[in-house]
Symmetry: C2
Subunit: 160 residues, 2 copies
Amino acid sequence: MARTAFETHDHRHCIAESLVEAERTCAEQGLRLTPARRRVLEILLEEHRALGAYDILDRLRTEGWRAQPPVAYRALDFLTSHGFAHRVEGLNAFVACTHGKDGHAPVFLICRACNRVTEAEAELTSGALGRAAKAAGFRIEQTVREAIGLCPACLATEAA
Amino acid sequence: MARTAFETHDHRHCIAESLVEAERTCAEQGLRLTPARRRVLEILLEEHRALGAYDILDRLRTEGWRAQPPVAYRALDFLTSHGFAHRVEGLNAFVACTHGKDGHAPVFLICRACNRVTEAEAELTSGALGRAAKAAGFRIEQTVREAIGLCPACLATEAA
DNA sequence: CCGTGCTGTGTTATATAATTACGTGAGCTC
DNA sequence: GAGCTCACGTAATTATATAACACAGCACGG
């Protein structure tokens, strides 16, 4: 089982590792991990939860970036379109990708209490969506699979 | 296999049937299908595709309703919370429910070309989401499962 | 008959999310 | 160094959603 956001782990290590990985991937594919893009990715990695574009914008501004909305959206477009981050539709928010590889079909578990998000992988056309698509003659290009609920920690808090 | 939005069918019949069904359900459960709520449901049924709240608002206004945003959102809240309609997260839009029963976990196939949406049913905790949740100790309360792609008709058009 | 509480509506204003449009500059290639 | 592409800076706008408050209709109990 992959490490999840709900488990404790060495977070600084995980940030650094992901950044190195991103840099390597960009170098390989001729992509430019510019300061803005890199900083947005870092912010997402640091938070390890879903952040709205304007949350990110606020962070950038407190760091002196005099940033307008397009700055955040451009960086997020880059990060999401190359698999470094994902958009969480149910929250209108974004999270850093916690799996190294591009081209997977992420599945998100979103805690409604603490807002943390954990990511798992799934096949693109498996399960209910795949069956429905096949039956309807529908060609899937992209999927959205998210669950809202309570993470283990918040479950425990609620029970107390 | 259930009838889908991508197949041709007697649409007027399907609207009337769904409305009668909704009225019956409301009567049974002591819910009030007021004029605004009923009209919004009718509009969703007529269109048979995903509509934004402001699309609905425009429709209401052309019909003389002098409606402000809360009018549409209240009606949509009612319809979605009682299972008469669903929110499509990937589009920030809404569709009428095409399954009679409340309490199911809908799965949507969204055509990016014609914007039509077909709905299938799935188990709440099946498949990739259920496995991920179990592994993480996560309690699912609600799920979002959507696929973006091309419906049979638009696939044919594209191929031409 | 009158108050009281509940639900739904009307309306104004505001909050939040995302995009358009246009100009500038850095780095590359020939 | 002219032309090109890509990314950024900035202002303005559009799209989506909610807050807040007043009031109307109706059921209920006295």
